[in-house]
Amino acid sequence: MGSNMAEAHPVGFQWVMEAKKNGARVVHVDPRFTRTSALADQYVRIRAGTDIAFLGGVVHHVLSNDLDFREYVAAYTNAAFLVNEGFADTEDLDGLFSGYDPATGSYDTTTWDYEGASQRVTAPMETGMGGPPIEGAAGGIAQDPTLQHPRCVFQVLKRHFSRYTPEMVERVCGVPREQFLQVCDDWTANSGRERTAALIYSVGWTQHTVGAQNIRAGAIVQLLLGNIGRPGGGIYALRGHANIQGSTDIPTLFDLLPGYLPMPRAGQADLTAYLDRVRARNQKGYWEEADAYLVSLLKEYFGDAATADNDFGFGWLPRINGDHGTYRTTMDMIDGRVFGYLVMGQNPAVGSANGRLQRLALANLDWLVVRDLTMIETASFWKDAPEVETGEIAPERCRTEVFFLPAAAHTEKAGSFTQTQRMVQWREKGAEPVGDQRSDLWFFHQLWRRVRERVADSTDPRDEPLQRLAWDYRTEGDEPDPQDVLRRINGIDLTTGRTVDGFTDLRSDGTTACGCWQYSGVYKDEVNQAARRKPHDQQGPYDPEWGWTWPANRRLLYNRASADLDGRPWSERKELVWWDPDQGRWTGHDVPDFPLTTPPGFDPPADARGPAALRGDDPFTMQADGKGWLFAPTGVVDGPLPTHYEPHESPVRNPLYRQQSNPTRRVYPRPENPYDPSPPEGDPDVFPFVLTASRLTEHHTAGGMSRQLPHLAELQPELTVEVSPELARLRGLTHLGWAHVVTARAAVEARVYVTDRMAPLRLDGQVVHQVWMPFHWGPTGLVTGDSFNDLLGVVADANVLIQESKVATCDVRPGRRPRGAELTAFLERLRSRAGITSATGTTLLTAGRSPTNPPPREAP
Amino acid sequence: MTGDRPPGPDAPSYYGRPVLKTPVWEWKIAAYLFTGGLAAGTAVVAAGADLVRAPRLRRGCWLGSFAALLASVGLLVGDLGRPERFHHMLRVAKPTSPMSVGTWILTAFGPGVGAAAVSELVPARWRSSWPARLLRGLARALGLASAATAPGVATYTAALLSQTAVPGWHEVREELPFLFAGSAAASGGGFGMLTAPPAEARPARVFAAAGAGGELLASRLMERRMGLIREVYEHGTVARRRRASEVLTAAGLAGTVLLAGRSRAGAAASGIALLTGSALQRFGVFEAGVESTRDPRYTVVPQRERLDAARRGSAVGDDVGRPAR
């Protein structure tokens, strides 16, 4: 679901095909029949943006038919934990949970607590990776092992999804009942002791205003069916860039420090205050040791200058106090608050949502540095942006100073990428860059050198961190040796000067320095473990000697769950790790994800903390309570349970609740970012169709690495829009003819593809047409075309600030779009017909009643 | 399950795209079919004229043959993708390749025609010199040898076209050699009638008449036996060319029999009609082949019919195509 694996990850799909050959059943749920669907055993057409309704239906099916893996659920998940008495569900509040504040559009999550524990953090970006802290989780959380208590998570879950029936799934998703039940049957039949099922998603799930909850919904199903931490199970995020995983682990993100440590926030006066927000003092699991991770990072950042006396330089870190995400920053550029922009290997002018917004932002900078392999639209916007045609950007009036620096390619530098399953793989240098082409390592080293020179004599305290920055990497010519950087990322024992073996070696006393605790072990024994390349046919099924997988070279996270309560594999077929009573330790085919010598039946003493507080049946070692979370008492800002909300722009009124869309979604009311209002606020007459987009196998993202290559460009030379024969008839579109797709933001022209792979859906008597486009085109390259991303608005999931780019409302009209000033006027006309202003669509609360007085529910 | 699908011209296809590549040969090859046939036909007339002592007919036809041969070589080399590599044709001798066979036949044919023509060009005042006499003797021998290969030159081009996957050529392989032989003879004879006075040109007329008659007969027979490919031959430019060819050839034939013996003008007109008819016939056939590759039905339907028939007739598979399923 939410993934077109055969097209976007073809080489990964070989494993699906192999599983299929071995008898696995492959089901593909997608708005459009894709190359993945073609190879699946069952294809299910779904309305874009209704995945939670579908998955909620599966949860409902599982729970109402007692199909869950009860032993697993009772022991390894938080199903038995009791929820705070004050908690009110969406069933009670017509689509809202308790604690909603209409003024801020956010939740006070205190009522979502477990009984007997408390949490203090409401925003996940404040807590980093380890799962949110829960005070007292290491002690007792009230629970009912029989799962009968009306306030136990299991019952809360059951009630929450009680109306997600097959009929409701049909009404919401447009999936016929038989098709849906077939999926349920296949999923449940292939889960349990002997069998496991895997769930695969990609940005088809994340790029929604309910992105995080989409994944939560998948996780709930997989936990209920016992498919987490077990071979052949799991939830797989298929990521789209060579090192997009690495760039979140070792982040280039505003809210994170390396290893998913949160960025310090305004008001965190010192290290202790910071740590108290990050992890609870009496919680379970490895995240309790976050202090060691942070201090080791500060030691790597500031070297000898970081001492216990100065909080290891914590005070030198900048603080965040809100949204500094890419879209916020873009809008700040338009508002003149950002002066310079460094862009490397990314092409926001055509690759980010609301392309016009992006380009107007670029046009309002003082300077812009673009580092890329080829000339891309982000660097050349001042002369080839569509806004030049409409007159909004004129080169002679655009002051942005642009530096384009040619970058070295992946073959021309050594370094590591972290692939989608967390495997760090080292690349050797194979060729020499030419001319001014340089690696980014060179760039940052040279920039540091120059900046350092300029502040060397400064007495300004704000320059202190620059002066104290430890930047003594071994160099090769005029750039650092990437192996040495990786070695520092791995971590050094400062008492011996040697690399540490893993994150359990890290200390909070300043005796270790480590750039990213998660990657500790990647340079174990002073050897670049990521560069290991032992052929797969010379090692076991988990291939531990190829590359290195974080954490601790572990292939499968939470693999303690692959064994039963007594530490024996659930079944012989599905064995992975197990307790060896003779040796008194965990062992198996993979590196066990559990304290090695903690036996299965272990019950920790009351005062235990951290890893020592993990019970023998707490497989989820990073979680504060050691359990898999069916119910998320904290950490997810838009609800402890996933709930079906309509996409921000939708032609359909939410059939489940009066609350139409996610009440916490981030809206950005601006003139450059108008939204088409959904029911009940607006009517879907002007933009009646559902627009969705995805990749083609033959291109890569916004096309910077594919549109310029003849061997790829020839395979998909033009932007197309796929419509069903029914929609083609409705709108008078002909195959290969021109059409333009219009949203509240833009009009984009493309060639029409009339195909049976698209089909309208019937829901509740309403026919919904969906329209699909790829998003790889832009004004430069061998093959050019309008940029799909111009059609999108910026509206984001509140948890992670990822935009909703997989669904919007649109119209499709035959012929080419208007050009120049006519285009502007045309869009203005449509907007006024639809009553769109910069404020429409930004009303978050549509439940219609005060959330404190639950209304009588409508009959489903 | 596909076996019981009713056979018919509405075969499924890949978006109507041809199955075959249309020939990359251009008009040059069609023209060569004519000039090659002309070279062969005139060589026969010239050699015969030599034997029966008809000097004007001999001289005109050797020169005509040589000119046609030069034109042929020019056209053939000109149609190559890499003309500078034309000599690679002599790298191998492949009996499976009509073009290779043709190359060697032309190689055998060419020198004699060349020698004979050069000998014809020796100015009158040098003719009695001993080198000229030697050349004459040699040319005569070589010319006769060339004439012996001329039937090959006249007809191998039918194999050249027929031994292809092009339906318009392959499906008419039984008749095409006769069509081309007739066409070559008609053009050779016609050329003879054009260059020699009627008194000397009688053999040319007989030859031309036989050729024209043969050509018309072969053409009619060919059309009668055609299957689906008839559509191509009976439509458009192809049909127009071949109709015109038939009319001209028939007229030329009539003229040859009735007029050419009596009037020089009548002979010339008949000769021109025959030559033009021959050329149009070649272009018609050539284009029919090209046209037949543009529609997948001409490839697919006969194959499918054969396959289905074989399946109906035999449980184990047919003898040309694929096994039964």
Partner: protein
């Protein structure tokens, strides 16, 4: 064509029959379309290795296929068929628009794979007047599309046991290698173009400007170095398998039996049978529909098989020609003069 003129020799020792002493086993491809994901890695890997230029930045409208056909500049071609029912061609909405454009092209569309079509997509086609029957938005359509499937097939040179292109090549540029494959030697080919018409599959074509005939070499150079051909190596799902032909035939048989066992009755092998019209392929295919649907000829016969018949007729015609000549002069020499 009515009958074969001769029974093909058994396909064993193909290379030996072509003059190689102690040749390696005959190598080939087995393309299993039932696992093809249509990614076109084969097309790209082939072009990268063999330095094949692009064949036109041309949107064809044949589902996801923008290559269209094998040709001089496309040695692998992935076909895509969106089928409402098995045994039928792609959707008429697409075929109508595509076919009109193909018919307008100088080579009827067979230039695809070598050069782009000269007219712009959509340009050649005016509004075809799509029927607007039924009320707009009627029906969801889903219920009538239960048989819908999307076929994908990576096509390639068949490396026939009896290869029409090779047989007719007058220069020996096309030859049978020691691996039993059929290769154009680029240092020899003079671009006569005969092979283009000799191939019953429409595979080989002449490259404009270059002038030479081009097609899959089954990566002759890689084979000489003991490497797998580029396309087979890249193929993510083992839809393209490479190996000794004997082994591939067994694999193909097993896979066919497996699919038939799973109820995929329409699966068939293409080019598997050594007794077929070309003596069997060096590259086998497992198809999920009749070959025509993929643009393949259903039962081609190598034209060479007609050679004896043709030459007999040519001989007879030549004899008639000679007789006519002799007769004409004999009548002149011995007959009455007018």
């Amino acid at each position: 064509m009515t009958a074969t003129d001769r029974t093909p020799p058994p396909p064993v020792d193909l290379a030996r029959r072509n003059g190689y002493f102690d040749p390696p086993p005959r190598m080939g491809f087995f393309t299993d379309t039932s696992v093809c994901i249509g990614c076109k890695a084969c097309e790209v890997a082939c072009k990268e290795w063999n330095h094949v230029p692009e064949d036109g930045l041309d949107l064809l409208g044949m589902s996801m296929d923008n290559t269209g056909m094998l040709g001089a500049n496309s040695w692998r071609h992935v076909a895509f068929v969106e089928q409402r029912r098995p045994g039928t061609a792609g959707p008429e909405e697409q075929t109508l628009a595509v076919e009109a454009r193909l018919r307008a092209a100088p080579r009827g569309g067979s230039e695809l794979g070598t050069t782009p079509l000269p007219t712009a997509p959509g340009g050649a086609v005016a509004d075809l007047g799509m029927p607007t029957v039924g009320r707009p938005g009627d029906g969801t359509g889903a219920e009538t599309r239960t048989d819908f499937r999307w076929l994908m097939e990576s096509d390639v040179c068949k490396h026939c046991t009896e290869a029409g292109c090779l047989d007719v090549c007058p220069t020996g540029a096309l030859f049978r290698t020691e691996f039993g494959t059929v290769v154009v030697q680029q240092d020899i080919c003079n671009g006569c173009g005969y092979c283009v018409s000799g191939c019953p599959y429409g595979v080989i074509d002449r490259r404009p400007h270059d002038g030479r005939a081009q097609k899959c070499t089954l990566c002759y150079d890689r084979l000489k170095g003991g490497l797998t051909p580029a396309c087979a190596k890249a193929c993510p799902t083992e839809s393209i398998q490479f190996g000794p032909l004997d082994e591939l035939r067994e694999r193909a048989d097993r896979r066919l039996a497996e699919l038939h066992g799973q109820g995929v009755a329409e699966a068939e092998l293409y080019g598997r049978d050594p007794d077929d019209g070309v003596g069997g392929h060096g590259s086998l295919f497992l198809l999920l529909d009749v070959p025509e649907v993929y643009g393949l000829p259903p039962a081609p016969v190598v034209p060479t098989r007609s050679a004896p018949q043709i030459w007999r007729r040519v001989g007879a015609a030549a004899a008639a020609f000679a007789l006519a000549g002799i007769g004409a002069f004999a009548s002149a020499a011995f007959g009455d003069h007018p």
